[in-house]
Symmetry: C2
Subunit: 416 residues, 2 copies
Amino acid sequence: MHRGVARQNSDIDYPSRKHSGAGRPGGAAGEVMSYSDIVGHHSMVFDRVRNAAYAKAMENIITSESRVMDLGAGLGILGLMAAKLGAAEVHLVEPAIPENLTAELARHNGLEQVTCHEATGEALNPDIEVDVILSVFTGNFLLTEDLLPSLFRARDKFLAPGGKLIPDRARMVVVPVSAPDEYNKQVKRWDEASAYFTEKQLPPVDFGPIGAFARNTVYYNAADAFAAKPLANERILEELDLYTATEAACDARVDAVITEGGVCHGWLGWFDARMGEDWLSTGPQAPATHWSLAFMPLAQPIEVKRGDNISLELKRPELGEWTWSTRCNLPGATPSQRQSTFLSRPFSPADIQKRSQNYQPTLNNRGEALQWLLANMTGELNAGQLARMLQENFTGQFPSLRDAENFVRKQCEDLS
Amino acid sequence: MHRGVARQNSDIDYPSRKHSGAGRPGGAAGEVMSYSDIVGHHSMVFDRVRNAAYAKAMENIITSESRVMDLGAGLGILGLMAAKLGAAEVHLVEPAIPENLTAELARHNGLEQVTCHEATGEALNPDIEVDVILSVFTGNFLLTEDLLPSLFRARDKFLAPGGKLIPDRARMVVVPVSAPDEYNKQVKRWDEASAYFTEKQLPPVDFGPIGAFARNTVYYNAADAFAAKPLANERILEELDLYTATEAACDARVDAVITEGGVCHGWLGWFDARMGEDWLSTGPQAPATHWSLAFMPLAQPIEVKRGDNISLELKRPELGEWTWSTRCNLPGATPSQRQSTFLSRPFSPADIQKRSQNYQPTLNNRGEALQWLLANMTGELNAGQLARMLQENFTGQFPSLRDAENFVRKQCEDLS
């Protein structure tokens, strides 16, 4: 039902992403990739630009006395580099990869000072104290993936007084751009679908109503894929001091003065992170890394000329929706446009009700099947018995025994 | 933490995949895309090659009497085309998109004969009878995603005697290929990581043990991205008659005679599907669609010359793992190599135990939290109250109230 994508790039040949990417592996039944799929770590392990930035910062900080934690270590590339640089003690903390594998990698490298923890920082023994925490908890547009709150918790729990974080500061950066090709494909094509289908000699279905969803979507993509032309100097929207921050959210506004006229189709966003003395940029002018740029489209493109003013207000609470508001005071242009990812997905009235704090839920058929299963995961019945009973009692949910077996196996993996 | 990818292509500008792709949207909190993210349907709605094949088959079958079901309709492109072609009655069956949206699209197109069902075929009223079932339940390598069993159930339940399926036959096709660049990047680079890091002036971490996982991974990618050179004529591995099939599995063997010498790095696999009289191919020689090719690597590449024989045995039970065995009788080559996606992921001894039918599960902390929540989704407490109580009772699982609120909201969406 789907086709992958590819991109050639100097140092990161096959950038890939959780659940995807070119050369994307399809390991597990169901073919949905997760961090526990080893090959998905390829793009991170072989992201030279990223690794060089971390390594340089480590070289300046790590001594033979250093106790180091690699938080969310994946295959442990950063922590193993720290150990190769001579750190006294290295803790790889990673819930999705079994510690017998990371331990094998440490042994294979002859690094006896490495300890592997198959756990999140939240679940880890609080007696550990370290001098350096390495983390890659910066999502594409910094807050994406909501990983930073776990870094803050680990910092408060494990970092010795005077200890160092790599990275220790992070910025969200934006610039207004002209990106006609991307905009036409991702947004306008929905408006003009029936003409597109007619041209392709297909029955001309009109998808006009979808345009509103497309305008409220944040698109993540590699720098060169957007072919976006900056119309102003980049602006720092938000800067987090990772030593002191307690929340990973954004509620900020920037004003931009147009330096190059053209049609503004939206905003490009990315993050820069400080590693030691240097900043690693993931912006369009910097060498490519495995991170993506974020493109936040306007509902209606705005024609701008040199010297015009345009502003962006961006809100994004922790674990919440992205809302971007663009304001200008230009002839012929909508003075204020507001987009939100909340409007990027279709919700039925029932869906909206279910998102309310006042919603009083009762279980549907699937919920009842799961409740039955959890109630019977008491150590007495085995997985095969549970699957057979589940299929007998909830045939509508599990048309075949294999469906029930897969469901039971998944719950065993997650919840036992 | 991740970077997207891009690929230019004639008719499908931004092929994307569930949970990914270039120009990949990142809508929902957590930024994991699903079918309910509208923009993820872009690559399917605007896949001209695919749509033209379905449209041609429909033109030859659909009359003003036809009752049509579009099973797993997504935004309804195929069903709406059928209605535009004059079908008497069209049922869009789609669980992930709210029917108020698909109904709006039907109204917007003035198609009064369209009925929208926010449901799976399994959950749908069995009184519906149709003359044609349209479906796109063919995953990248046919069985990928395990969608076909749902087609078989819907066929048995809804298709009138003498009714038609589009597609009605599907083949799995394979060819041995030389793909040195892909193989070096995806497989050999793990073997040679420490040399790679040394060359990049980074601490030389050795990732040798990961090579075994990489060799047991199926890679999905666009045709041109593999730059794979076929070494033999393509061979049909398995052919399913969708009118009569009851199982979507593969257990088949093909022998290939090498037509072009070179180094064989593995097998390329794809599917062809019959729509009416014509076959739509998703193979490397056919025009690109939104589907991906599958690359199944060998553990050790084999040097072959014209006239040599090489065979593939492929097993893949429903909802199961892919196992590919390559045999040859050539000087200097390993006579038999067997790979399996079961070996593509690291499992701890505990994980392996959890996959056994004899495993007797008891709930972990997360399981207990979920059990508590399900037991309290009785219609008396609201989502806000449930989140507060959950956070108080299971602090380790939900460090902040927001974590608990998100967890409750997700369970409300899925299970109520």
